[in-house]
């Protein structure tokens, strides 16, 4: 059996203040298997960053333990195989990209040759070769986040811990980061990333943990987490055929979304199949067929007991 990349065991964290105490983590336990993209989901203030900062040994747990590839996270050597990107990455603006990466390459115990070879390669990989000679202070927000990712990757880590990696990025940069993460998974790396933006990981994560108010509500593969007893199906279609629309309007869950765009929720698989057959015979354009309540957002809101906010 392979060692888990990260293992949380009854991890608890209480922030003590002078007159109050706040329990940020209430004894969380789960494992992040090696070689997967693991999404750590939760609303703001759920305890994601606290958990990540304990893994990185920035802060200490009140009780419980945390391991990285079987080594206690309090041991600095545990971080030898880790690359970390904080949520809002910032670094000294006077440094040029290459100088910055060289510094962190040295701290990752890489040889001079390895560093010099890795710098242009990484910047090319991140689609920002021009950043090599530029000072960090002249970077855009997306570039800053990417150079942060480059420093996390310069040591060729087996585990990447990314705290809200797409924070503040535009949709194109986000898509590029997603592709990059898929590529890294393909190279056998483990990616543990936290986010509260579900669309960031819905199509890339192998497994997710959902956390709220310091408690883990669910940990499973994305497929299993979204597997529900699909009693209902949502079918969306575009049609200008008034006769068809009039015919289908009698269905109990008929909904007009916009001009010429409709949605019907079928209670059974048979009803769904019959509807699809009818639509295929007409000139209607079927735009969506999905089990109702099967999106990550729906499941997330369901677990957080805010199901009423779901679109599904």
């Amino acid at each position: 059996m392979s060692v888990a990349a990260i293992r949380f065991d009854s991890l608890r964290k209480v922030y003590e203040r002078r007159r109050s105490a706040r329990e940020a983590l209430k004894g969380i336990s789960f494992e992040v298997p090696a070689g997967e993209i693991f999404g750590f989901l939760g609303p703001n203030g759920a305890g994601k960053t606290t958990a990540m900062h304990i893994v990185m040994d920035f802060i200490y747990s009140t009780s419980g333990s945390c391991e990285i590839f079987g080594i206690s996270s309090t041991d600095p050597s545990a971080r030898a195989r880790v690359g970390f990107l904080p949520e809002i990455f910032s670094f000294d603006g006077f440094m040029r990209g290459e100088h910055f990466l060289r510094t962190f390459g040295k701290l990752a115990s890489r040889t001079k040759e390895q560093i010099e070879a890795a710098i242009p390669e990484l910047l090319e990989f991140l689609d920002m070769p021009e950043a090599q000679r530029q000072r960090i202070k002249s970077y855009s927000k997306g570039m800053t986040q990417k150079i942060g990712l480059a420093q996390a990757l310069i040591g060729d880590p087996d585990l990447l811990i990314l705290d809200e990696p797409t924070s503040g990025m535009d949709p194109i940069a986000k898509a590029k980061i997603k592709n990059l993460l898929k590529k890294l998974r393909g190279e056998g790396k483990t990616i543990f990333l936290s986010t509260h933006i579900l669309s960031d990981i819905e199509d890339i994560a192998d497994r997710v943990a959902i956390i709220n108010k310091g408690e883990v509500l669910a940990v499973d593969s994305l497929g299993k987490l979204l597997h529900v007893e699909h009693k209902a199906y949502r079918v969306q279609f575009d049609s200008s055929d008034n006769q068809l629309v009039a015919e289908l309007q009698s269905a109990s869950a008929f909904k007009r979304i916009a001009e010429g765009k409709y949605e019907i929720t079928c209670d059974t698989r048979t009803a769904k199949d019959q509807l699809l057959e009818r639509l295929l015979k007409s000139d209607a354009d079927i735009t969506l067929v999905r089990p109702a309540g099967a999106s990550l957002q729906h499941r997330f809101l369901q677990l957080l007991q805010h199901e009423e906010l779901s679109d599904d």
Binding site: M56, I88, L107, G148
Partner: protein, 259 residues
């Protein structure tokens, strides 16, 4: 690993222009100081004027150096925690001690750089104006002055474990003044007040320099002994303050706004 962090800290301080500003101020003040001494040289001779210039110049350099030491010490790791850059370092397989000592060495190197450039500046003035060669024992004086700056740095570094940079600087300055009062009391003839003064000096890390350069002119080995004692005293305090700060830093949580 420590050297990489130290070099990065030194570049950060150099690029902050803080050192440059201190050096410009030092050069400006020294020019003002030298003008009356140059006039005096015509009356009293270059050698005496050279010694007076050396003493006066180092008085100012030392004062500005203490201000630099206070600012650098108060922000040694605090600034990095505030701007979040410390997390990027702490994420590497480094012990907290390596991280701390890397930052401290970088700061001490910055102060050393300031001191060396200040020395060179004086050397240039001296060469062209006074043609005065200080005695070899002057080096001891320089070491003592530099260690005095490091003591100031170590005090504010220690306070910065408990307080924000501004408060740490204020407390260090208060300590400095209380030490000065202790020094005054220690000079009183009354035994009780003298004892109190010596006591205050001890607990406030009193940093008065044992001998001025002019007193060292023609000094014998015996009269240099107090300088050696002062150097030893400074070193003991530096080691005590920096190691306690390292231990406190090791147990510290690197809490950022997002934690």
């Amino acid at each position: 690993m420590i050297s990489v962090i130290a070099r990065q800290k030194l570049s950060k301080l150099r690029n902050s222009k803080m050192l440059l500003i201190f050096l410009i101020v030092a050069a400006f003040i020294s020019l003002l100081v030298f003008l009356p001494i140059i006039i005096m040289a015509g009356v009293q001779g270059a050698k005496i004027s050279g010694a007076v210039a050396l003493e006066t110049y180092f008085g100012y350099i030392s004062f500005i150096g203490h201000v630099a030491a206070l600012l650098i010490g108060a922000t040694c790791w605090r600034q990095d925690l505030r701007d979040g850059t410390i997390l990027t370092f702490a994420a590497r397989p480094l012990s907290r001690f390596s991280l701390f000592f890397g930052k401290v060495i970088g700061c001490v190197a910055a102060l050393a750089l300031y001191f060396v450039v200040a020395l060179l500046l004086f050397g240039i003035f001296d060469l062209f104006i006074f043609s005065y060669v200080p005695p070899a024992s002057f080096l001891l004086y320089v070491v003592q002055q530099f260690l005095s700056l490091i003591v100031t740095f170590a005090i504010v570094l220690f306070f910065s474990n408990f307080f924000n940079p501004v408060l740490a600087v204020v407390l260090s300055v208060v300590l400095f003044f209380v030490g000065g009062i202790g020094g005054l009391l220690a000079q009183l003839t009354s035994g009780v007040w003298q004892a109190i003064g010596v006591g205050i000096q001890a607990i406030t890390v009193e940093r008065s320099i044992s001998y001025s350069p002019s007193a060292m002119l023609g000094a014998d080995v015996e009269s240099l002994r107090p300088i050696w004692n002062a150097i030893g005293y400074f070193l003991v305090w530096i080691i005590a303050l920096v190691s306690s700060s390292a231990l406190l830093f090791d147990r510290r949580e690197l809490l950022t706004k997002r934690s």
